[in-house]
């Protein structure tokens, strides 16, 4: 089933961490397996990289913590080696980290180099995007990663009921559009031409971290954005290229977008307020942050909408 939610403040930053947590928590019944966030804070000159060095399902044997510590030092040294000026690397949970650094070069070699460390996955990389995802419901994840204090302009979130792949962090949404900075996707649905697209995209050099069909959308959009296409037209093209049922949300540095398949098979409720736009799989999620009576509607089939802050 899965539940997705998105919010964009059109008049400056808001408490998006707390808001998306409330939205996701009210849709817990749609997916209790994992929860994930893609949040946009104040853009900074430094790059923010969220990464994990192990999975909660990994067996935590006797030298687990030492191995993690070694890997963490290895990440730092590799960042320095490739020319990044590391500001700091903070530990966010037992296995997830947040690094900030200055770096002028290409992002793909850097991300590839860091991910080459065993067990390492780069969850997000960008000047304002931060992806946080873990097992458990939104409240648990938000408390672990202290997201209630996160302020920003826009973000998306996802609660997952795993149908197409394992319950682990790699299978949790959102997906970063690797290696395109500051783009992330959440998806509700099933894609039936996953393997064709995965083979196509792998041939053109993209990497896949999971077996989850939704990862295709992020990489698909990344390829088109990298080729200079606008977000709007890349999303419109995806309606013909992707088979199956889907409603997905995508966020970039300054925009939030939604797209729906031609059967309108998956739900999405949309509320366009004066200063903010909120979307979710269920209206009750929007009501979690806007308790008053609001106007809302379901976007139609093959609809693509983009809002910019």
């Amino acid at each position: 089933m899965c539940g997705i939610a998105g919010i964009i403040h059109l008049d400056g930053p808001g408490d998006i961490g707390r808001e998306i947590t409330q939205m996701l928590q009210s849709m817990k019944h749609r997916g209790p397996d994992s929860a994930g966030y893609a949040l946009y804070g104040e853009p900074s000159e430094m790059l923010v990289m969220r990464f994990k060095l192990a999975d909660p399902n990994d067996s935590q044997d006797f030298d687990f913590s030492e191995r993690l510590e070694r890997s963490r030092r290895e990440v730092e040294s590799r960042l320095s080696k490739i020319g990044a000026n590391v500001d700091r690397v903070q530990s966010e949970s037992a296995y997830a980290y947040r690094a900030t650094f200055r770096y002028e070069g290409e992002l793909k070699p850097l991300a590839d180099y860091v991910e080459n460390i065993p067990g390492c996955e780069v969850l997000s990389l960008g000047h304002s995007l931060e992806i946080v995802k873990d097992l458990g419901d939104a409240r648990t994840v938000s408390d672990t990663y202290k997201l209630d204090d996160f302020r920003g302009t826009h973000g998306i979130g996802h609660v997952r009921m795993a149908t197409e792949s394992d319950v682990d962090i790699a299978g949790a949404h959102p997906y970063w559009a690797y290696p395109f900075s500051d783009v992330a996707v959440v998806h509700n649905g099933q894609l039936t031409n996953y393997h064709q697209w995965r083979r196509r995209l792998e041939r053109s050099g993209h990497r896949f971290q999971s077996e989850c069909d939704s990862e295709i959308i992020a990489v698909y959009l990344a390829e088109r954005l990298a080729a200079g296409m606008s977000l709007d037209s890349a999303m419109k093209e995806s309606l013909d290229d992707l088979d199956g049922v889907f409603t997905y949300l995508v966020v970039t540095e300054d925009s939030l977008g939604m797209a729906k398949d031609e059967m309108a098979a998956k739900p999405l409720v949309l509320h366009e307020g004066e200063n903010m736009v909120a979307l979710a799989s269920e209206e009750s999620a929007i009501r979690a942050i806007l308790p008053q009576e609001i106007d809302s509607y379901d976007p139609y089939e093959r609809e693509v909408m983009v809002w910019s802050r």
Partner: protein, 264 residues
């Protein structure tokens, strides 16, 4: 002994998945003669439905007002008696399903599958509705003054669905009887695989579904639309076109190959 597990927000489920098996009606409604009203803001869907049932079945109330439904799911389901219910606000999914008899007025918006399998009665929604609106209804009037999502009246077996705005894709999919009156535009695949019944559309039709054809409007059709619009105080567009089943897929007399083998 019933196995009960505690879920989110302390909601408990029994072994069959029934939510809150030990819930009781909160008895908070203010009763005034044969009318009553209560605030649903702090109640769970099951508590709201238990309170509503207590009022219309137990207390013989004829008119109930529910405030602050907060887009909760499955509200006012399975009401099988004549009464009036006014819901001041919006409902989530599966609102007013399986009803037989009540007149329900919702001042907000509804989510997916409103009035699913309604047998008789009236459901009026002032704003928009989600997809699968009026799925498999058998009778009664379902009026949506705003827009509706996809697959409106899928598997409809009777009754009338009136939409003041636009309708999404495959409206009237596999419809078997009844009427749909759509004042705005209709999405692609209108009346796909419909068996019978009529769909009236005043706006543009993106495309017709398999075996759906345009038919001629008769004076009886016009009279029906006039009457329905008068009842609900709606403005009647002049541009209605009628769509029915082309009967190309009516193969009821032909035996399936396996059956043929048996007969011969």
């Amino acid at each position: 002994m019933v196995a009960v597990t505690a879920g989110e927000r302390g909601v408990r489920y029994d072994i069959r998945g029934l939510a809150e098996p030990d819930a009781v009606a909160p008895k908070i409604a203010k009763i005034d003669g044969d009318t009553a009203g209560f605030d649903a803001a702090d109640l769970s869907p099951r508590q709201i439905n238990l309170e509503l049932r207590r009022l219309v079945y137990g207390e013989g109330i004829r008119e109930v007002t529910i405030d602050n439904p907060g887009a909760k799911h499955s509200i006012a389901v399975g009401i099988l008696t004549c009464c009036r219910i006014r819901i001041n606000g919006s409902l989530g999914y599966f609102g007013c399903g399986l009803v037989d008899g009540p007149e329900i007025h919702i001042t907000g918006r509804v989510g997916w599958s409103v009035a699913e399998n309604m047998m008789s009665g009236v459901v009026v929604i002032d704003k928009n509705a989600g997809s699968l609106t009026g799925a498999a209804i058998r009778g009664g009037d379902l009026v949506i003054r705003g827009h509706v999502g996809a697959r409106t009246g899928i598997d409809q077996k009777g009754g009338t669905i009136i939409v003041g705005g636009n309708a999404g894709a495959t409206t009237g999919f596999m419809m078997q009887r009844g009427r749909q009156i759509i004042c705005g535009d209709a999405g692609g695949g209108l009346g796909d695989s419909m068996y019978d019944g009529s769909i009236y559309v005043a706006g543009k039709v993106a495309s017709l579904g398999v075996d759906c054809v345009e038919a001629e409007m008769t004076p009886a059709d016009d009279e029906l639309i006039d009457r329905k619009f008068r009842i609900y105080g709606m403005d009647r567009p002049d541009t209605f076109r009628k769509f029915t089943c082309g009967r190309k897929l009516w193969n009821y007399d032909n035996l399936e190959p396996s059956e043929r083998k048996l007969v011969l």
